[in-house]
């Protein structure tokens, strides 16, 4: 009994020590964003400041159009997620449930889309969007993310989910005279809430975190998305404006963390059961 207790205590201590590098950077980022610049490089460093200030937060908004950049990131991620939910649940449903000639071959084509890294396609895509006059607009970020890349993964997840769905409900709906679109909308989608939320979370995060694409496509600061904007807090000499950068980073990270802590269960289970188990 005592050894069991000791063992458990040892486990908790080990976990607590291991957790330090996972937690400290975020805590330190938030804490330092309230420090005056002079205190950031103080030695020995302190976690919390005695004289908190919001200067860095004000500076984050005045140095570049941060509010606009925030809006950009949010609306792009929302639009991408909504389109992906529709496109992937339609395709996933059809690949899992509808019999049509060539379905397997077409599914293979979709899987190829899952394989090709976005870094491989970005050079030609840039040229394509340049020809179409869409460079330095949000279109590339929306279209490519919502229809290729993360969306392909989403279609795969949806298909895995719909395959496992029992067929009786569908049969019953058919006998009641419902067509395929109605079955998809009224029977399949309501049952697919767990898969849909997993897809929504994965897609939102994927869009929110895009860095290479905005770096390549966007040049006007008022069009930037958050990850790109964060790296632009440098003074006239190219030196980093650390406290401003940390304040901006805090504002991009904290809302996600709050949502995560609230919807934690769904988040983790969604990921675990997203068909990635193999």
């Amino acid at each position: 009994m005592r050894t069991e207790l000791l063992r458990r205590a040892a486990l908790v201590v080990a976990l607590a020590v291991l957790a330090i590098p996972f937690v400290i950077p975020t805590v330190w980022m938030i804490a330092s964003s309230f420090k005056p610049l002079s205190e950031i490089f103080q030695s020995p460093p302190t976690l919390f400041t005695g004289s908190p200030t919001l200067d860095a937060y004000v500076e984050a908004f005045t140095f570049q159009p941060f509010a606009q950049q925030y809006v950009n990131s949010v609306y792009i991620a929302v639009v991408v997620t909504l389109i992906t939910l529709v496109v992937s649940s339609l395709a996933g449903y059809a690949f899992a449930r509808v019999r049509f000639p060539g379905a397997n071959a077409l599914f293979l084509v979709v899987l190829v889309g899952l394989l090709v890294p976005s870094e491989v396609t970005i050079v030609p895509l840039f040229q394509m969007f340049k020809q179409a006059g869409l460079v330095n607009t949000h279109w590339p970020l929306i279209l490519v993310t919502a229809l290729a890349g993360p969306c392909v993964l989403a279609t795969f997840i949806m298909r895995q989910f719909f395959i496992a769905l029992p067929g009786e409900l569908e049969e019953a709906a058919r006998l009641d005279g419902l067509g395929r679109p109605a079955i998809w909308m009224r029977i399949a989608l309501p049952l697919a809430k767990p898969a849909l939320s997993a897809v929504a979370i994965l897609t939102f995060l994927a869009s929110w975190n895009l860095y290479l694409e905005p770096t390549v496509y966007l040049t006007s600061p008022e069009l930037f998305t958050l990850p790109q904007a964060l790296t632009r807090y440098t003074d006239a000499y190219g030196g980093e404006m650390w406290n401003t950068q940390l304040a901006a980073a805090t504002m991009t990270v904290v809302p996600m963390l709050v949502v995560f802590v609230i919807a934690q269960r769904q988040f983790v289970e969604g990921l675990a059961h997203s068909g990635l188990k193999g």
Partner: protein
């Protein structure tokens, strides 16, 4: 068969002409049979996704192959066909060996650390004790923090006068200028990347561990097996599909890591952390060498394809399936 059961043949029967005398001339069956209607909806349902993959994946890959056979004139913005010249340039590129070495080190480092740490965390967190959910949340939380924000903070902590060295000083150790030396810069990129993303693997391993039937453990205990034996002989084989899948996903993910490197080290010092993805970006978008950049990108694609093929081959060899 009871009356409430749906006869599985009913649907098929509706599509085929009823048995008996051949259809009377002049009376046509409707063109839109259930089967035809189904096929049409199938195509319509998958159309947006296929269009997306076609336009934004397949066409660009074909274009990348075409670009790789051309030289790009920045001033005129024109392509000139040069055949295999870009591929010959690959062989003569004095930087490429360093780039490939950095890519290999980074990918191997990330995979080994990510899988072992992810598995260790999952095993530790697969028990029931007070606070286990809190720990799961803590270890998973960096996944939600955006890569750039996470990397910025670590970049600050890893500076010469940053938090890591200050912390080392308080316990009497001498730090170093982590990001300005080749080997420590690589270690820094790997470690920050692993800490940020290991939560995903931890969750996938946890799900797999919870799928291992408890009776197997009990039987092994009754037989007097030790914990290490149980882990090696029961747990590992049973979660091997997840192990393999996460290994491949992690290595393919590592091959595509751009933001971490762009923000933390910009490929430096020298070429120490210039991995293939970063090199593609530099060639194509900083030096405007579209042809050579595309050639490098195709090399990256080849690596990813080979790894996936390897997974496909391996899964038959040693991966254990319950059914």
């Amino acid at each position: 068969m009871t009356a409430t059961q749906v006869n599985p043949t009913t649907r098929e029967a509706a599509d085929t002409p009823p048995p008996g005398p051949p259809a009377v001339r002049g009376i046509r069956r409707p063109f839109w049979t259930t089967r035809r209607r189904d096929a049409l909806t199938g195509y319509l349902f998958v159309a947006p996704q296929l269009l997306g993959v076609g336009v934004f994946v397949l066409v660009p890959v074909v274009l990348a192959v075409w670009y790789s056979l051309n030289e790009w004139n920045i001033f005129r913005g024109e392509l000139t066909f040069v055949g295999g010249a870009n591929y010959a340039a690959l062989l003569n590129d004095p930087q490429l060996p360093s780039v490939l070495a950095a890519t290999a080190w980074f990918s191997i480092g990330v995979v080994v650390l990510n899988i072992s740490l992810g598995l260790a965390l999952a095993v530790m967190l697969n028990r029931r004790f007070r606070g286990v959910t809190v720990f799961r949340t803590l270890f998973f939380s960096p996944v939600v923090v955006s890569v750039v924000a996470w990397t910025l903070v670590w970049g600050f902590l890893l500076q010469d006068n940053g938090g890591i060295n200050a912390a080392l000083e308080t316990i009497g150790l001498d730090g170093t200028n982590w990001l300005l030396q080749g080997d420590t810069a690589m270690i820094s990129v790997i470690v920050t990347q692993v800490i940020r993303s290991v939560g995903v693997n931890m969750v996938l391993f946890l799900a797999a561990l919870q799928g291992v039937p408890g009776e197997l453990y009990e039987a092994a205990r009754i037989d007097g097996a030790r914990n290490s034996t149980i882990f090696l002989r029961i747990t590992l084989p049973l979660i091997s599909p997840t192990l393999l899948l996460t290994a491949i996903l992690t290595i393919v993910g590592a091959l595509q890591s751009f933001a971490q490197i762009a923000v933390l080290t910009e490929g430096g010092p020298g070429l120490a952390t210039t991995v293939l993805v970063y090199y593609v970006f530099q060639q194509a978008f900083e030096f405007n060498d579209i042809g050579y950049g595309s050639t490098l990108a195709l090399m990256l694609l080849t690596f990813v394809m080979l790894l996936t093929l390897l997974q496909w081959q391996l899964r038959r060899k040693w991966v254990f399936y319950e059914d």
